[in-house]
Amino acid sequence: MSTSWPLWEVFVRGKRGLNHVHVGSLHAPDAEMALRNARDVYTRRNEGVSIWVVKADDITASSPDEKDPFFSPSGDKVYRHPTFYSIPEDVPHL
């Protein structure tokens, strides 16, 4: 009974001079919403990031050699970054 929004593949160019790279996928009802969701999910609204979304169904693929690099979340919120939390040097393994 669940309706299912189509799957979109997301490509992000982190900064000028770089190619767009595949960062993952998401569901959205249409391209406009897919773009917005991609911005929320994969860039955490980092400004200056260019995003492409492509319907997964529209991709024609040959055999696999896909290596999509991890994508780093934006630096917008410091509490997303481990060094925001001051932990004494001598606490092991943290």
Partner: protein, 294 residues
């Protein structure tokens, strides 16, 4: 680069790589916090509480959606908006605190209901509680963000450098919130019969709280060049909403006068009954352990 090396560089000892954030504490770096001598400090504090409380209470309501949104992507979007507003609230309460000699937490957790100065629109339950649904939430967000964006775009020119900086930072956020709400309003308005009905019902539910947004307050008139008179915002807000309603096939409900109590509304600390419950939940832990540090 081999995969395992990529992993190493991620989880290895390159934490510094991740510490470039520009979060709350740094976001107003370089802004002069001195209260300009021409500014009525007491009025400034009250005005910052007004705008800060709007954001804090709206954020508290939006965060109620966390783990309850129609889809995971929307859960993330609503949480982002709530986080943005919480960030704005912290900056504004801290500014009020500069005058009042209190920190953001004292202001958020130790004021009683009569001390809160947010508009009623921010505090009412628009879902996921019994007071509404996703359509109601979108209706509120559309009105709230359209209004606040209009306000902040004028506030950029404020004679208080902190208010001006907060507005500058908040503009991009609010533009995004407004866009998000408008996108949904159009989809719900033009989606199915049910969604159209719910979206219109949501709009009808929040509309009685709209006229309060444009009530001018005595504090604004004490802050010429610092504050934005609320009445000034009406035509811009009306225009934007009209465009969205038309694209979404929604009917603008009839305007209703703001219900007042002894001539007072949210800006004077007179709220709807839902506010007490909201504050009870938000404040109880902080208040139940006096002297605790978090």
């Amino acid at each position: 680069m081999s995969f395992d090396n990529a992993y190493e560089s991620l989880l290895g000892h390159e934490d510094s790589h991740w510490a470039f954030g520009t979060g709350f504490s740094e976001s107003l770096v370089g802004v002069d916090r001195e209260i300009p001598s021409t500014v009525d400090a007491e009025a400034l504090a009250i005005y910052c509480l007004m705008l800060g409380d709007d954001a804090l209470i709206m954020s508290q309501r939006l965060a109620e959606w966390c783990s309850r949104a129609p889809e995971i992507e929307e859960d993330i979007a609503l949480a982002n908006i709530a986080l943005d507003l919480l960030g704005q609230a912290r900056l504004l309460l801290s500014r009020a605190g500069d005058v009042l000699g209190k920190d953001e937490d004292e202001l958020a957790f130790l004021r009683d209901e009569r001390g809160f100065r947010n508009v009623h629109l921010a505090e009412i339950d628009c879902g996921p509680g019994p007071g509404g649904d996703f359509g109601t939430t979108i209706a509120r967000l559309l009105v709230f963000s359209t209004w606040r964006l209009a306000l902040f775009s004028r506030l950029r020119g404020s004679a208080d450098p902190v208010l001006a900086a907060v507005a500058e930072k908040g503009l991009k956020e609010l533009a995004y919130h407004r866009d998000h709400a408008a996108q949904w309003a159009v989809r719900l308005g033009g989606g199915t019969e049910e969604s159209h009905r719910r979206m219109q019902a949501g709009l009808d539910r929040v509309w009685p709280f709209v006229s309060e947004l444009f009530l001018s307050h005595d504090v604004e008139s004490r802050l010429g060049g610092v504050a934005v008179p609320a009445a000034e915002l009406k035509s811009e807000v009306d225009g934007v909403l009209e465009a969205v309603f038309s694209a979404a096939g929604l009917t603008r409900p009839a305007d209703a006068p703001t219900p007042l109590v002894a001539g007072m509304a949210g800006r004077d600390g007179v709220h709807t009954e839902s506010m007490g419950y909201l504050l009870a939940e938000m404040q109880h832990l902080h208040r139940s352990l006096p002297g605790a540090t978090w």
